[in-house]
């Protein structure tokens, strides 16, 4: 009876999610609401730190483009990058052009310069690398000169026309500058905040995630796998049998479901160089999500390993 109920619930979730998506022949990827606008975005995005910084290496660039193709084919939309990420922006731009996805990508970029007056020119240089008319989301990277850059981004948001910026945000990573981030969340009107969250890096649960929820700020989660370190440590261990209860077939999916099951999280952006992993990551947005007790179980189990 319990299994039947679970299957019915799972089917209902999948059907409801499918109904919310535009009618394209794409697999279903669960979506989340951006609180400030009501727009829905797929819950699993694609990060590009290190993985897309491949320079002029043709073979590695083609591999990145294959990853992007699998990502879009699987229903993904949000791709995140930064001027800090070397050649990643150019690789993404090449991929978008070759795959003809310049119109449906949710382009999330960052401004990363200590000089507030250089922000606009850096953003323009970034835009030309992506080969897009505009970005959907611009974020102040690691809070660098955030006051000046938020002012620039607000001005871009206010400007009407085809190049109008839709969303603004700020980012941190590795658990750094959380005190400052909390102050910013309390005082500034933002659409997005990006931070690090996973079963072993849970500090944001205490204040930042509830605050983001309270303030109506969408949360993008970076480093769900600690740049692969967490997965590498866990791969030596067998996946617990109870992972199947929440439709997890891998450690990566278990971690992503932990992240996505927090009610404040809008999107998680794992980075990968493997097509198979992109598909696994996207699939983590579907099916049964852990409840509060299962979330604690996941965190305790992974922390103990």
């Amino acid at each position: 009876m319990l299994l039947h109920t679970k299957l019915r619930r799972r089917t209902a979730v999948i059907l409801l999610t499918a109904a919310a998506l535009p009618s394209r022949a794409q697999p279903v990827v669960a979506t989340r609401v951006i609180p400030s606008s009501g727009e829905r975005i797929p819950a699993v995005g694609l990060g590009s730190w290190i993985t897309f910084n491949v320079g002029h290496d043709r073979a590695l660039r083609d591999n990145c483009i294959a990853v992007m193709k699998a990502f879009f084919d699987g229903g993904g939309r949000l791709i995140d990058s930064s001027p800090m990420y070397g050649s990643s922006q150019d690789v993404i731009g090449e991929g978008l052009a070759k795959l003809s996805h310049t119109s449906d990508v949710f382009a999330a970029e960052k401004v990363w310069t200590g000089s507030g007056s250089d922000g606009a020119s850096q953003i323009e240089a970034t835009r030309s690398l992506w080969r897009l008319p505009r970005f959907d989301l611009l974020q102040v990277h690691n809070l660098l000169a955030w006051r000046e850059h938020l002012a620039t981004l607000r001005a871009m948001q206010a400007r009407k026309g085809p190049q109008q910026l839709r969303y603004i945000g700020v980012t941190t990573s590795h658990g750094r500058r959380h005190g400052e981030l909390e102050s910013i969340l309390k005082t500034e009107k933002l659409d997005f905040v990006q931070l690090t969250y996973n079963p072993v890096d849970r500090e944001v649960e205490q204040r930042l995630l509830p605050l983001a929820q309270e303030r109506g700020v969408a949360v993008i989660v970076n480093r769900p796998f600690q740049e692969g370190d967490l997965i590498r440590k866990l791969q030596r261990q067998p996946l617990p049998a109870w992972a199947a209860e929440i439709d997890c077939g891998s450690w990566a999916q278990l971690i992503l479901k932990f992240v996505l099951s927090h009610p404040a999280v809008s999107c998680v952006i794992p980075a990968t160089t493997q097509v198979a992993h992109v598909r696994q990551n996207l699939a983590a947005s579907q099916g049964q999500m852990p409840d509060a007790a299962m979330r604690q179980r996941i965190a305790a189990h992974i922390t103990a390993l």
Binding site: I50, N53, V54, G86, R176, E227
Partner: protein, 221 residues
């Protein structure tokens, strides 16, 4: 202020690494394939320098070859490869070109010669030999042979050769101070990069740089 200090001290070397080890070592493969047979000439260059140092002849010729090696590493490696994955690539290219010029200036202005009495001759020859044998490292690391790091193309091998040659030629302290800036800076940068990638040979260049720096700047009669 407290949070700024905490933030600063929280960074590990790995946090500053912008690329994967696979991408990094493939730079050498792409360069060797693209510029073939330049790696052969690079290997020959290192053997010629070793021969000059052992036979204590043709010091000017050896320094001209060294200048050529630094200039070619600047163009083939930094401009065409490393600059694509690291924002410091163009700066290192400039530094290596400057160093190539410095070798020429020193060669023509000071006219250093090999002497049997050079105090650090033996360690210097060992470093020159290590540089000539550096391509064999790729086998020890179980990398494809195309990823061999050769003098005149790969900066590590080029810097190692240079440190060895400096020990053998033993410049005055003043010349040494000028000639060591870029090589020692590279030893630190390369050691840190390789360490962040958990490479087993990350210690080699920092150690070679430390020995050369101490010998040429401080442990002098």
């Amino acid at each position: 202020m407290e949070e700024s200090w905490a933030t600063l001290t929280s960074y590990r070397l790995q946090d500053l690494l912008m690329f994967s080890a696979d991408t990094f070592f493939r730079l050498f493969e792409l360069m060797n394939r693209r510029w073939w047979p330049a790696p052969v000439f690079g290997a020959l260059l290192s053997v010629l320098v070793l021969g000059a140092a052992v036979s204590r002849q043709a010091s000017l010729f050896a320094l001209l070859l060294l200048a050529l090696a630094w200039a070619s590493a600047a163009l083939f490696y930094f401009r065409d490869g490393f600059a694509g994955i690291h924002w410091l690539g163009p700066w290192w290219m400039g530094a290596f070109l400057l160093q190539a010029l410095l070798w020429l200036v020193w060669a023509t202005a000071a006219r250093p010669v090999f002497t049997a009495q050079a105090r650090w001759r033996a360690p210097g020859l060992m470093l020159v030999l290590a540089a000539a044998a550096w391509p064999a490292l790729t086998l020890a690391l179980q990398h494809p042979p195309w990823q061999a790091e050769v003098v005149g193309l790969a900066p590590d091998a080029t810097v190692l050769l240079s440190l060895g040659l400096l020990l053998v030629l033993q410049p005055t302290r003043r010349w040494a101070a000028g000639l060591l800036v870029v090589p020692l800076a590279w030893c630190v940068f390369s050691g840190a990069t390789l360490s962040a990638m958990a490479q087993p040979h990350a210690w080699v260049l920092p150690l070679a740089g430390s020995i050369a720096g101490m010998a040429l700047l401080f442990l002098r009669r």
